[in-house]
Amino acid sequence: MSAPHTGQFCALLLRRQLLLAMRRPIEMGNPLLFFTMVIVLFPLGLGPAPDKLAIFAPGVLWITALLSNLLTSDAVFRSDFDDGSLEQLVLAPQPLFLSALAYILAHWLTTGLLLALVSPIFALMLNLPVSALGTLIVSLLLGTAVLSLLGGIGAALTVGLKRGGVLISLLILPLYLPVLIFGTAAVQAAVTGTPSGPYLAILGAMLSLAIALAPLAIAAGLRISIDA
């Protein structure tokens, strides 16, 4: 009956968020569907020539992953804000930045992880060489985690606003750029056969920095949004 300590509470929150996502499987599928549709748009726009598609494939895959992540990040705290759960979370005795980290982890598990796992199918459709698939998955795993963390900052700052949907893209897209650059570079390196390890290492470094700093910004943003 005693209050759960911090680790326990984070695990509880994580389980709660995952269960909520599982009970709405359609919403979990939406970003994947969006990812698929945008991928289909590119051959239609660029022409179906396989060699041409292969050149653009790393960029296309990464931009699409970035957009579908952006699409979902607005919803991370939205429903909790609407039904008052967020107020209770902010008042909880456990540190808010760790709770926020649990939310972001749940978000990443239901978007970024799934996206990374299904990406090989679309990579093959875009004629990406099989040898680059491993790098693609790893880069997406690392990169989408950074995107989720950064998206959480935008979501926390705009959750109190009625028209936050467009604003959030303006706020966080500039912050997404480094991830896009190194994510694409890693896949491109794998395509050309040069080592992609350094780029993945940089993505990992970005992830470490984001894990350390983003939760603080998210917690601050949530407190401000609750107050407004």
């Binding site: 900052i153 705009t158 109190g160 706020l171 500039p174 912050l175 750029l177 601050a220 943003g221 107050d227």
Partner: protein, 248 residues
């Protein structure tokens, strides 16, 4: 020292001291700007490679330098507002954003115009120009976020968080874009290094950089005065000023 700090937190004092500074800073700024422009446009000899088009450097570089510095001014004000809960820091931040955005816009536009005679194209995805574009987005994000909140106090805090996040990211963005550009850089485009600049060209440039810093300060103080009046519009000291200056 502490009394000074306390006075900084007092709106009427800040309003008055900003007015006193502006009284001599505005003329100095205008003279420096006009002087620097005349010096750069008329008195220096053209660059041996780029010809006369290099004269754009006298507005492009100062605008870019001050725009970047302006973001740091904004972010540091944001940090002060978050840590010490100083309301005047919010005012500084709110005042800095539009000026910084305008300077970034100048830097981008003059960069594009400069690109045409130098590289033969209006826009090059050069590392520095791309970074400036991102900086513009960051500024616009702060302005848009501020406007989106109805509660201006919360708006100030939210913008403070956003500008701090931006400040951490600026070096990362700049380094990534720089690296990305070196990866993709076409061999036909080369830069003349700024380190080889001739003193006769350097002095007007330094004057212009100083002038742009002064310009930024002027705009910052003027915006702050307007913002202070709006925030404090219910107080007696503002009513007194309105009674004196408002009737015309």
């Amino acid at each position: 020292m502490w009394t000074f700090f306390h006075k900084l937190g007092s709106p009427p004092w800040l309003y008055a001291i900003a007015g006193a500074i502006l009284r001599w800073l505005v003329p100095i700024t205008l003279v420096a700007l006009v002087g620097g422009m005349v010096w750069g446009l008329l008195l220096t000899s053209p660059d041996f490679r780029q010809g006369n088009s290099y004269r754009i450097i006298y507005i492009h570089v100062p605008a870019a330098v001050v725009a970047l510095a302006g973001y740091y001014v904004m972010a540091i004000a944001g940090a002060i507002s978050l840590i010490w809960r100083m309301k005047m820091a919010d005012v500084v931040m709110k005042a800095a954003a539009p000026v910084g955005a305008a300077l970034t816009f100048i830097a981008l536009l003059t960069g594009a115009i400069w690109g045409k005679p130098t590289w033969g194209t209006w826009w090059v995805w050069d590392a520095r120009i791309t970074s400036m574009l991102i900086l513009l987005f960051l500024y616009l994000g702060v302005v848009a976020l501020y406007e989106a909140f109805d509660n201006k106090e919360a708006a100030g805090k939210a913008c403070a968080v956003l500008s701090l996040v931006g400040m951490v990211n600026i070096p990362i963005i700049y380094k990534s874009v720089d690296w990305w550009y070196s990866l993709h850089q076409p061999a036909s485009i080369k830069f003349s290094g700024e380190s080889t600049i001739d003193p006769s060209m350097l002095y007007p440039l330094l004057l212009m950089i100083a002038a742009f810093y002064a310009l930024f300060t002027c705009c910052l103080l003027m915006n702050m005065r307007a913002e202070l009046l709006q925030r404090e519009s219910r107080t007696q000291w503002v009513k007194k000023i309105a009674g004196k200056e408002g009737r015309r």
